[in-house]
Symmetry: C2
Subunit: 147 residues, 2 copies
DNA sequence: GTGACTTACTTTCAGAATGGTAGTATTGTT
DNA sequence: AACAATACTACCATTCTGAAAGTAAGTCAC
């Protein structure tokens, strides 16, 4: 996919996808939220080839979703931490998960809990103002013209 | 990406990504929610190569997110309509958009409105039970073992 | 201090996926 | 008859991906 539908696109969905629009990146972000920080942790968790992992971690760092930090000088070792932007990706992960649970359920499914309170989290999307659940109503997209 | 982290994976996020984990599919779903139904509408809106569009529409139809319907016999013409599963993808789109708006904002951005009431929609994710906003707290993933 | 081990990668390369252009099939319109 | 619209397919060059192996810097066991 080229850049036409991404960086300078007025659609915020397209912009997001330009940053983290591939499956590996989203899975890395998921694992980062689950507490993983190191190259080999991600590699083992995902079963991803090291070439891909290097590229994806570099891209996510470049985009400002992860931060590379040296946690040991001798030997030199790096870890990847979520930035504020990366942490705010969590609602997206929850909604993706909620959809998958609903439509691709069956069998044993991984569940998500608040790491502090221990309560299970089931996310739904609501309108910020009215609090109405966002559901099946069609939307209208309005793009401001360039003039 | 192979199937290991997708179809039989207990993680609902991985399952979702196996179905609609690429940028084109998500953009097609976005346009479908905005009311587009026909091959050429998608092609022009997205600037996608026809080969890609054919493949993506077929995949989304196969997965049950879109439904192919003949709307004219002479000449034979098809359109693609959202299924219930496809319509329920809308919250995911909104959260992706909300993130993009927050972190890739600047310039003129496309905004989303309820097609019926005309009010602007700004989506946030909350916990279904407590109603608490899902934010920056770390989560804990619990995968049931196979035994 | 030699060999095994750990971590975080890079190199190489075959094969799959993608994107661009052009062409096809069926029908309606003038 | 010529042209346009719609919904594709064929072909092909380029790019991306995945798998295996190798590398570099250092630690640890004895």
């Amino acid at each position: 996919m080229d850049n036409e539908n991404s960086c300078d696109n007025p659609c915020p969905i397209a912009r997001s996808l330009a940053v983290a629009g591939d499956a590996w990146s989203i899975l890395i972000l998921r694992d980062a939220h689950a507490g993983l920080t190191r190259f080999d942790q991600f590699r083992k968790s995902l079963g991803i080839a090291p070439t891909m992992l290097t590229r994806r971690l570099a891209a996510l760092t470049e985009e400002g979703l992860l931060e590379k930090r040296r946690y040991s000088e001798h030997p030199p070792r790096e870890e990847y931490l979520l930035t504020a932007a990366g942490r705010d990706f969590l609602p997206v992960l929850f909604m993706i998960g909620a959809w998958g649970r609903q439509y691709r359920g069956g069998g044993k499914l991984t569940r998500f809990f608040d790491a502090e309170t221990g309560t299970e989290i089931k996310a739904i999307a609501v309108d910020e103002v009215t609090g109405a659940k966002i559901g099946t109503r069609p939307m209208r997209m309005v793009t401001p013209d360039e003039s």
